[in-house]
Protein backbone atom coordinates (compact mmCIF):
# COMPACT_ATOMS: atom_id res chain seq x y z
CA UNK A 1 0.00 0.00 0.00
CA UNK A 2 1.29 3.43 -0.89
CA UNK A 3 1.18 6.54 1.21
CA UNK A 4 0.72 10.12 0.08
CA UNK A 5 4.32 10.82 1.08
CA UNK A 6 5.60 7.92 -1.07
CA UNK A 7 3.58 9.11 -4.04
CA UNK A 8 4.91 12.63 -3.63
CA UNK A 9 8.49 11.32 -3.63
CA UNK A 10 7.83 9.13 -6.61
CA UNK A 11 6.30 11.93 -8.65
CA UNK A 12 9.02 14.42 -7.76
CA UNK A 13 11.73 11.88 -8.56
CA UNK A 14 10.04 10.84 -11.80
CA UNK A 15 9.50 14.38 -13.07
CA UNK A 16 12.69 16.31 -12.31
CA UNK A 17 12.09 19.82 -11.07
CA UNK A 18 8.46 19.15 -10.17
CA UNK A 19 6.79 19.84 -6.88
CA UNK A 20 3.84 17.75 -5.80
CA UNK A 21 1.26 18.03 -3.06
CA UNK A 22 -0.38 14.67 -2.51
CA UNK A 23 -3.33 14.01 -0.23
CA UNK A 24 -5.05 10.81 0.72
CA UNK A 25 -7.56 10.02 3.41
CA UNK A 26 -7.22 6.25 3.04
CA UNK A 27 -3.95 5.46 1.17
CA UNK A 28 -6.08 4.12 -1.67
CA UNK A 29 -7.63 7.23 -3.20
CA UNK A 30 -5.15 10.02 -3.84
CA UNK A 31 -5.29 13.50 -5.16
CA UNK A 32 -2.22 15.31 -6.37
CA UNK A 33 -1.47 18.84 -7.43
CA UNK A 34 1.73 18.91 -9.43
CA UNK A 35 3.64 21.92 -10.67
CA UNK A 36 6.34 21.15 -13.22
CA UNK A 37 8.21 22.97 -15.93
CA UNK A 38 8.12 19.65 -17.82
CA UNK A 39 4.39 20.21 -18.42
CA UNK A 40 4.89 23.33 -20.50
CA UNK A 41 3.90 22.87 -24.10
CA UNK A 42 1.96 19.70 -23.33
CA UNK A 43 -1.80 19.30 -23.55
CA UNK A 44 -3.63 18.42 -20.36
CA UNK A 45 -3.96 14.85 -21.61
CA UNK A 46 -0.21 14.65 -22.19
CA UNK A 47 0.51 16.16 -18.77
CA UNK A 48 -1.61 13.53 -17.08
CA UNK A 49 -0.10 10.77 -19.23
CA UNK A 50 3.36 11.88 -18.13
CA UNK A 51 2.30 11.33 -14.51
CA UNK A 52 0.49 8.06 -15.24
CA UNK A 53 3.66 6.82 -16.91
CA UNK A 54 5.38 6.77 -13.52
CA UNK A 55 3.17 3.89 -12.45
CA UNK A 56 3.25 0.21 -13.26
CA UNK A 57 0.56 -1.22 -15.51
CA UNK A 58 -2.39 -2.15 -13.32
CA UNK A 59 -1.18 -0.12 -10.38
CA UNK A 60 -3.63 2.70 -11.10
CA UNK A 61 -7.09 1.30 -10.66
CA UNK A 62 -5.46 -1.54 -8.69
CA UNK A 63 -3.67 -0.82 -5.39
CA UNK A 64 -4.03 2.88 -6.14
CA UNK A 65 -7.76 2.99 -6.78
CA UNK A 66 -7.77 6.56 -7.89
CA UNK A 67 -5.29 9.30 -8.51
CA UNK A 68 -6.97 12.61 -9.08
CA UNK A 69 -4.63 15.03 -10.85
CA UNK A 70 -4.28 18.75 -11.16
CA UNK A 71 -1.28 19.67 -13.26
CA UNK A 72 0.20 23.14 -13.68
CA UNK A 73 3.25 24.85 -15.05
CA UNK A 74 5.23 27.18 -12.77
Amino acid sequence: MATAQELKQRIEAGIPGSSAEVDSADDVHFSARIVAEAFSGLSRIQQHQLVYGLFEPGELGGPIHALSLKTETP
Binding site: R44, I45, H48, F55, L60, A66, L67, S68
Partner: protein
Protein backbone atom coordinates in the same frame (compact mmCIF):
# COMPACT_ATOMS: atom_id res chain seq x y z
CA UNK B 1 1.97 -6.73 -45.32
CA UNK B 2 -1.34 -6.26 -43.64
CA UNK B 3 -1.47 -6.30 -39.90
CA UNK B 4 -4.34 -8.38 -38.66
CA UNK B 5 -4.75 -7.79 -34.98
CA UNK B 6 -6.98 -10.81 -34.48
CA UNK B 7 -8.35 -8.91 -31.59
CA UNK B 8 -12.07 -8.51 -32.21
CA UNK B 9 -12.68 -6.80 -28.88
CA UNK B 10 -10.08 -4.14 -29.53
CA UNK B 11 -11.48 -3.67 -33.02
CA UNK B 12 -14.99 -3.32 -31.62
CA UNK B 13 -13.84 -0.67 -29.15
CA UNK B 14 -11.94 1.24 -31.81
CA UNK B 15 -14.99 1.08 -34.04
CA UNK B 16 -17.27 2.37 -31.27
CA UNK B 17 -14.90 5.30 -30.69
CA UNK B 18 -14.80 5.97 -34.39
CA UNK B 19 -18.52 5.78 -34.98
CA UNK B 20 -19.77 7.87 -32.07
CA UNK B 21 -19.05 11.60 -31.99
CA UNK B 22 -19.15 11.55 -28.20
CA UNK B 23 -18.58 8.33 -26.32
CA UNK B 24 -17.95 7.73 -22.66
CA UNK B 25 -16.42 4.54 -21.29
CA UNK B 26 -17.54 4.28 -17.71
CA UNK B 27 -18.32 2.01 -14.80
CA UNK B 28 -22.04 1.36 -14.78
CA UNK B 29 -24.57 3.23 -16.89
CA UNK B 30 -25.44 6.94 -17.08
CA UNK B 31 -28.61 6.08 -15.16
CA UNK B 32 -26.72 4.04 -12.59
CA UNK B 33 -23.04 4.94 -12.42
CA UNK B 34 -21.07 2.40 -10.38
CA UNK B 35 -18.27 4.75 -9.37
CA UNK B 36 -18.08 8.34 -8.16
CA UNK B 37 -15.69 9.37 -10.93
CA UNK B 38 -17.97 7.99 -13.61
CA UNK B 39 -20.93 9.69 -11.93
CA UNK B 40 -19.12 13.03 -11.89
CA UNK B 41 -18.24 12.74 -15.57
CA UNK B 42 -21.78 11.77 -16.57
CA UNK B 43 -23.15 14.72 -14.58
CA UNK B 44 -20.84 17.14 -16.38
CA UNK B 45 -21.78 15.73 -19.78
CA UNK B 46 -25.49 15.78 -19.02
CA UNK B 47 -25.24 19.36 -17.80
CA UNK B 48 -24.01 20.42 -21.23
CA UNK B 49 -27.05 18.79 -22.84
CA UNK B 50 -24.91 17.12 -25.49
CA UNK B 51 -25.93 13.60 -26.49
CA UNK B 52 -23.40 10.89 -25.82
CA UNK B 53 -22.96 7.16 -26.14
CA UNK B 54 -21.94 5.21 -23.06
CA UNK B 55 -20.20 1.90 -22.67
CA UNK B 56 -20.08 0.06 -19.37
CA UNK B 57 -16.63 -1.49 -18.92
CA UNK B 58 -17.60 -3.60 -15.92
CA UNK B 59 -19.20 -6.64 -17.61
CA UNK B 60 -15.82 -7.78 -18.98
CA UNK B 61 -12.40 -6.72 -17.60
CA UNK B 62 -10.92 -7.14 -21.08
CA UNK B 63 -12.88 -4.10 -22.31
CA UNK B 64 -10.92 -1.95 -19.91
CA UNK B 65 -7.58 -3.58 -20.79
CA UNK B 66 -8.09 -3.11 -24.49
CA UNK B 67 -9.40 0.41 -24.08
CA UNK B 68 -6.39 1.45 -22.02
CA UNK B 69 -4.09 -0.12 -24.60
CA UNK B 70 -5.74 1.97 -27.32
CA UNK B 71 -5.88 5.23 -25.39
CA UNK B 72 -2.72 5.02 -23.27
CA UNK B 73 -4.91 6.10 -20.38
CA UNK B 74 -5.01 3.80 -17.35
CA UNK B 75 -8.21 4.76 -15.58
CA UNK B 76 -11.96 4.85 -16.12
CA UNK B 77 -13.92 6.95 -17.11
CA UNK B 78 -12.58 7.99 -20.50
CA UNK B 79 -14.34 10.47 -22.74
CA UNK B 80 -13.72 10.54 -26.50
CA UNK B 81 -14.94 13.28 -28.81
CA UNK B 82 -14.52 12.91 -32.57
CA UNK B 83 -12.30 9.90 -32.02
CA UNK B 84 -9.91 11.72 -29.68
CA UNK B 85 -9.42 11.11 -25.98
CA UNK B 86 -10.54 14.25 -24.16
CA UNK B 87 -9.80 13.01 -20.67
CA UNK B 88 -10.94 11.32 -17.51
CA UNK B 89 -13.01 12.63 -14.63
CA UNK B 90 -10.57 15.35 -13.57
CA UNK B 91 -10.09 16.87 -16.99
CA UNK B 92 -13.77 16.63 -17.94
CA UNK B 93 -14.81 18.29 -14.66
CA UNK B 94 -12.22 21.02 -15.11
CA UNK B 95 -13.33 21.61 -18.71
CA UNK B 96 -16.94 21.76 -17.62
CA UNK B 97 -16.14 24.44 -15.07
CA UNK B 98 -14.30 26.58 -17.60
CA UNK B 99 -16.93 26.12 -20.33
CA UNK B 100 -14.43 24.29 -22.55
CA UNK B 101 -16.43 21.08 -22.41
CA UNK B 102 -19.46 22.64 -24.09
CA UNK B 103 -17.14 24.16 -26.66
CA UNK B 104 -15.51 20.83 -27.47
CA UNK B 105 -18.94 19.19 -27.67
CA UNK B 106 -20.22 21.93 -29.94
CA UNK B 107 -23.10 23.00 -27.69
CA UNK B 108 -23.92 26.26 -25.94
CA UNK B 109 -22.28 26.48 -22.51
CA UNK B 110 -24.87 26.01 -19.76
CA UNK B 111 -26.34 29.16 -18.25
CA UNK B 112 -24.08 30.69 -15.67
CA UNK B 113 -20.93 29.51 -17.38
CA UNK B 114 -18.38 32.29 -17.55
CA UNK B 115 -17.30 31.29 -21.03
CA UNK B 116 -18.47 33.36 -23.96
CA UNK B 117 -20.02 31.22 -26.64
CA UNK B 118 -17.59 31.54 -29.57
CA UNK B 119 -20.29 32.17 -32.20
CA UNK B 120 -20.85 28.47 -32.65
CA UNK B 121 -21.73 27.73 -36.24
CA UNK B 122 -24.96 25.93 -35.44
CA UNK B 123 -24.44 22.58 -33.84
CA UNK B 124 -27.52 21.40 -35.64
CA UNK B 125 -28.99 18.00 -36.07
CA UNK B 126 -27.67 16.31 -32.95
CA UNK B 127 -30.43 14.06 -31.66
CA UNK B 128 -31.23 14.65 -28.00
CA UNK B 129 -30.85 10.98 -27.28
CA UNK B 130 -28.39 8.94 -25.35
CA UNK B 131 -27.27 5.92 -27.24
CA UNK B 132 -26.57 2.86 -25.22
CA UNK B 133 -23.73 1.03 -26.83
CA UNK B 134 -23.05 -2.40 -25.48
CA UNK B 135 -19.97 -4.32 -26.52
CA UNK B 136 -21.30 -7.64 -25.47
Amino acid sequence: MSEQTENPLRDAIAEAIDQNDVILFMKGSPEQPACGFSARTVAALQATGAPFAAVDVLPDPRIRQELSAISNWPTIPQLFVDGELVGGADIVSEMYETGELAEVLGVEPPAGSPAEAPAADAAAGAPPLQIENRLA
